[in-house]
């Protein structure tokens, strides 16, 4: 009997830690708390690729990126933009040198992204879910 009892909590602990392990690497999209627009992943992609300048409710959208060395960046590029970071850079080089667009501002880390998004009603950014604070609104992408 005893081994079984020990086994159960252990298993739960293992499960918990693995779940939180996944959760800490999860990327979330964040906006200003006052932003009530519905946002899906296609829109996030369009806004971050400079194809769309407004949210669905007609308000201006300002994408906030992070530097290439930030872990969230590669995840965002591959999962949301569906391109490697080099591909994204190539994409922007095409737009910049044809006068068609300016890439989003790149901030140093998640904390800087949260601070900027919290202070700007038009901002949209992404951070590791573990970094999220109450100052920003988390968007659930479907």
């Amino acid at each position: 009997m005893l081994p079984k009892r020990i086994y159960k909590p252990l298993l739960a602990a293992v499960l918990l830690s693995s779940v939180s392990g996944i959760a800490s690497a999860e990327l979330v999209v964040i906006v200003h708390p006052s932003n009530a627009a519905t946002i899906d992943s296609t829109q996030v992609q369009r806004i971050f690729l400079g194809k769309e300048k407004k949210f669905a409710d007609g308000n201006e959208a300002t994408p906030i990126n992070t530097v290439a060395s930030n872990a969230s960046r590669e995840q965002f590029d591959t999962k949301i933009l569906e391109r490697s970071s080099s591909q994204v850079a190539a994409y922007w080089s095409k737009l910049v040198f044809t006068g068609k667009g300016i890439p989003p501002k790149e901030l140093e880390n998640d904390a800087a992204v949260i601070a900027t998004v919290a202070a700007d009603a038009s901002a949209i950014g992404y951070v590791d879910s573990a970094a999220v604070t109450g100052a920003v609104k988390v968007i659930t992408l479907n």
Partner: protein
């Protein structure tokens, strides 16, 4: 002294008055050589870095919320790195969907026209030379661009109007009243693009630096002097309508891609034959590596035009030798445009960093109308953007 102070104050005031000036740049360092005694794209069997290398700086600034001024200064190895403003234009964002640009800008002929010089932005070492090297890439004029969505489709319509100046057969080629319409639609991994353009072209053969073209020009002058004004007019490209057609299809599934583009250039009322050029390219992306294969084909298949006018030479009563000369010129000048060749290229791109790519390419030209021009070219490149 006073003037200088006023000037510098003005400059300061203007910088202070507007938002930041953006400075970006790109560079392609390209070196290449052919196998023995052959030439291709200007390269020969001695290593050269000057054929396709270029360095460019782009400066842009916001004039106000809706207007941006952009200048692109390009120094090309083939011009001894003399820097020139290849583009200088002002863009007015009329709405989020409509941009109007005026000045000197790239004519949106091809799928990769606008980023043709930015080697970093594509998988090739250079855009397919056979298709993209046309004498009318830059336009002095105005361009309207409209982009929007229809469900999951993104589309882009553009129209450009203006004049161009370029080089064909070593001679000055000018196009007035040039207009171009292009439409593009893309759905996730698929993109289709069509373009139609027309111009009033004039090719001043007498300005050529090629002896054979100058010979042709002298012959045409003699033809005119001998009284065959109508035929000479018909043969010359002088204020004649030139037409451009293009179609491109692109499938990009990220891990792999296939793109093809076909164009036709025709100045019907002239000695020139219709040119058909196309390429098909396919590649895969694996981590930092992008290997690809490209096939390019060029075909110019002349049929003898103006036969009625040419027949008049024979019945003109001129000495037989002159009749033979002028008839030969009218027919030979057209047949000389006969051309057919293809180029196979294998290219590899390696992403060294998010703003630096290294590339190597081997290209083999096969002359389909003989083997005189067959050549194999090896090139290496470093592409950089900042």
């Amino acid at each position: 002294m006073k003037k200088i102070i006023t000037l510098s104050m003005l400059t300061m005031a203007s910088f202070a008055g507007h938002a930041e000036l953006r400075i970006n740049g790109f560079a392609n360092l390209v070196g290449g050589l052919t196998s023995s005694d052959e030439t291709l794209y200007g390269y020969d069997d001695k290593m050269s870095f000057s054929q396709e290398s270029l360095f460019a700086i782009q400066i842009s600034g916001d004039i106000n919320d809706k207007m941006t001024a952009t200048g692109q200064l390009v120094a090309r190895g083939e011009n001894d790195y003399k820097a020139e403003f290849e583009w200088a234009y002002i863009t007015y964002s009329a709405t989020d969907k409509l941009n109007i640009s005026a000045g000197r800008l790239r004519l949106p002929l091809f799928n990769y026209s606008t980023s043709k010089d930015v080697g970093y932005s594509y998988h090739w070492l250079t855009t397919p030379n056979v298709v993209y090297n046309v004498p009318f890439n830059n336009l002095d004029g105005v361009k309207f661009e409209y982009s929007d969505y229809a469900g999951d489709w993104e589309y882009n319509l553009s129209t450009a109007l203006g004049t161009y100046k370029g080089e064909s057969l070593g001679a000055i080629n000018e196009g007035k009243n040039t207009y171009l319409l292009s439409a593009e639609a893309s759905y996730e991994w698929f993109k289709i693009r069509g373009v139609f353009g027309a111009t009033k072209a004039t090719l001043d053969l007498a300005t050529s630096d090629s002896p054979s073209t100058l010979g042709f020009a002298a012959g045409l002058a003699a033809m005119r002097a001998a009284g065959f004004v109508e035929l000479e007019d018909a043969l010359q490209i002088r204020d004649d309508t030139g037409k451009f057609l293009g179609l491109s299809l692109q499938v990009d599934k990220f891990d792999w891609f296939v793109t093809g583009e076909i164009t036709s250039v025709d100045v019907e009322d002239s000695f020139a034959a219709k040119d058909i050029a196309y390429y098909v390219t396919a590649g895969i992306r694996h981590e930092k590596w992008t290997p690809s294969l490209t096939y390019q084909k060029f075909k110019s298949d002349p049929e003898i035009k103006f036969q009625n006018l040419i027949n008049q030479i024979a019945t003109s009563g001129l000495p037989a030798a002159n009749i033979a000369q002028l008839t030969g010129l009218a027919i030979g000048g057209q047949l000389a445009q006969d051309d057919e060749y293809n180029v196979w290229s294998a290219t590899i791109r390696y992403d060294l960093d998010t703003n630096v790519a290294l590339k190597a390419d081997i290209s083999k030209l096969s002359d389909d109308s003989g083997d005189v021009r067959d050549a194999t070219l090896v090139r290496f490149a470093v592409n950089y953007v900042f």
